[in-house]
């Protein structure tokens, strides 16, 4: 058996889903006996047979990736509840095994996968999808690139209306159907309290599940950004969101403003003051990069 063939055979076994009792399954996906498969390439020893030796790796694999996935998506767990979250995690990680050298990217394909397989989110599909988008944006904002922020002198000799501003690479803009930002912050508090008291934490989790179940749609526009090394969620006005989105898409400031107010109910006379206020805030947060030289 070549190295490649052995590694393919072992990887298939190691990454195969565990049984409901978290043991290695006795029958492989192709119907073959896992005992026969294990014995075909792994030696037994005095204490463990081939199946048991392979099972150590099979279990380690699932415990590691399920634990990493749960750490990344505490909000989704709050939305779905423990049992449904666990089932979704196993289904997703079976369908989309890691294709990255880092566990950080484990959830990178979750949004697309969940869109194709919404039944895993039960009756709260939109809520679950919103939470997935927010939690992935949070991961990207945490360690995304930050460039030097634009300075007043960068704008002295340019026609501002034609300027194409670049948003910081770590910034994510989200239009969401539910106010999941508050729910996520509360879910994280629950996680923090686990260390203090398990009983207290369980009560908080039950309460959180009830809050999540009763959450009603209320669209929000959100920017997920990093300031002083911490990630923040900031709610935006609709026009503010549209303007930032257009800038992120590479539109000039003039075109982005037009785009933002096309269907706006904000009176024309008040728009300039809105735009002025927003730009003051955005530049204070350092959201724009210096233009490329």
């Amino acid at each position: 058996m070549t190295l490649l063939n052995l590694q393919r055979r072992m990887a298939r076994a190691v990454m195969a889903p565990l049984s409901p009792t978290e043991r290695m399954r006795t029958v492989a996906a192709n119907g073959r006996s896992m005992r026969a498969i294990a014995a075909s390439f792994i030696k037994p020893n005095d204490g463990l047979d081939s199946f048991e030796r392979l099972e150590i790796y099979n279990r380690q694999y699932w415990f590691r990736i399920l634990s990493g996935f749960a750490e990344d998506f505490p909000g989704l767990r709050a939305v779905l509840g423990e049992r449904r979250f666990d089932a979704l995690a196993k289904a997703y990680l079976t369908a989309c095994p890691s294709r990255s050298f880092t566990l950080r990217n484990l959830g990178s394909r979750l949004e697309v996968w969940l869109r194709k397989h919404p039944s895993w989110a039960g009756t709260r599909r939109d809520l679950a999808m919103d939470m997935v988008r927010l939690e992935w944006a949070d991961i990207e904002a945490f360690d995304g690139k930050a460039e030097p922020a634009i300075q007043p002198e960068d704008l002295r000799s340019v026609d501002v209306s034609k300027l194409r501003l670049r948003l910081q690479p770590h910034i994510r803009l989200l239009a969401l159907r539910y106010p999941v930002d508050d729910l996520l912050l509360e879910a994280r508090e629950d996680g923090d309290s686990e260390a203090a008291s398990n009983a207290f934490s369980e009560a908080r989790k039950r309460k959180r599940a009830i809050v999540a179940a009763r959450l009603t749609p209320s669209p929000i526009f959100l920017v997920v950004h990093r300031l002083d090394l911490s990630v923040y969620f900031r709610r935006l006005e609709c026009e503010e969101f549209l303007l930032l989105t257009a800038l992120q898409d590479g539109r000039s400031i003039g075109r982005a403003i037009e785009n933002a107010f096309r269907e706006s109910s904000v009176p024309a006379a008040e728009r300039a003051s809105h735009v002025h206020r927003w730009f003051q805030t955005w530049t204070a947060f350092g959201w724009f990069c210096r233009p490329w030289q």
Partner: protein, 283 residues
């Protein structure tokens, strides 16, 4: 003076793994530590808090990079994006050498995020050594490969683990990161004498040593890095130092991590063996 041609850093002494629960203590108290080992993958990112902390650590301490997902033994070629990011980090840390494991963990682009054992075959040794050379040439930094703990052996194996390690490092002309806890764990799981392992490898290639704790289960021993180092492992360490000379040594503690002080105190127990070796050399 270097202990051997692959260890020009005998003055590195005893380091500990840089772990998140200790960041605040290290940055505020600035404890005296010979060096820190970082997990490369934790810092192969574009920005944010981890890189800021790393830069602060680099201002005050020596740092050596240790990887967990290069998978020298995987049959497929090294991931270019992985290598590019690793090289960026190497430039940032100026690590004097870089280590990763003698194992595999990915196939056909899918990652297990585990350190899976190698079949000890000549084909595997050849493929692994070739990859080590390619990575070293690309990164332009000396490489040391670490022996892993294992729980399975393969029918196709043609040699012992220590013969395989020797075959790989001789073909790749690289150093060894000798994990004496991993030798102990594997010796228990595969019923061999760990001192035979030590006697069977080229001591002159040992560039660094790892020490750690593990967990004993009913039928096997698991490498968990969540306990103090046990006495038989300290004995192996002393044997390794006796064979390889003074060597940069690092304590790994990755789970149920106690206070910085406890971890550092455990690491400094390695001084007993280092002092004894220095005395032996002097006499």
């Amino acid at each position: 003076m270097p202990a051997n041609s692959f260890n020009g850093f005998t003055d590195y002494g005893i380091g500990i793994g840089l772990r998140a629960p200790h960041y605040d203590h290290i940055l505020t108290r600035k404890p005296v530590v010979d060096w820190f080992e970082i997990i490369s993958e934790n810092f192969m990112i574009d920005g944010g808090r981890p890189l800021r902390i790393l830069d602060q650590i680099l201002e005050q301490y020596k740092v050596v990079q240790h990887g967990v997902s290069m998978y020298f033994g995987s049959a497929e070629r090294a991931d270019r994006e992985h290598l590019r990011r690793l090289k960026e980090l190497v430039k940032r840390t100026r690590t004097p050498w870089l280590s990763d494991h003698l194992c595999w963990g990915s196939v056909d682009g899918r990652y297990t995020h585990d350190l899976l054992p190698m079949p000890y075959t000549f084909e595997a040794a050849s493929i692994t050594a070739q990859k080590i050379r390619e990575v070293r040439d690309y990164l332009e930094v000396p490489i040391a490969v670490e022996n892993v703990s294992s729980y399975a052996e393969f029918h196709v194996s043609e040699m012992t683990e220590w013969e395989f390690l020797t075959e790989v490092v001789e073909r790749a002309d690289c150093g060894i990161l000798l994990d004496v806890n991993n030798i102990y764990v594997s010796s228990q799981n595969h019923n061999f004498n760990p001192h035979t392992y030590l006697a069977g490898i080229p001591a002159e290639r040992v560039a660094q040593i790892h020490i750690a704790g593990h967990s004993q289960y009913r039928k096997y021993v698991l490498d968990t890095h969540d306990h103090p180092v046990i006495e038989p492992v300290w004995k192996l360490y002393a044997d390794a130092i006796h064979r390889a000379g003074r060597t940069a040594t690092l304590l790994e503690w990755d789970d149920r991590i106690p206070s910085f002080g406890e971890v550092h105190a455990e690491a400094l127990k390695a001084n007993r063996a280092l002092a004894f070796e220095s005395l032996a050399v002097a006499v």
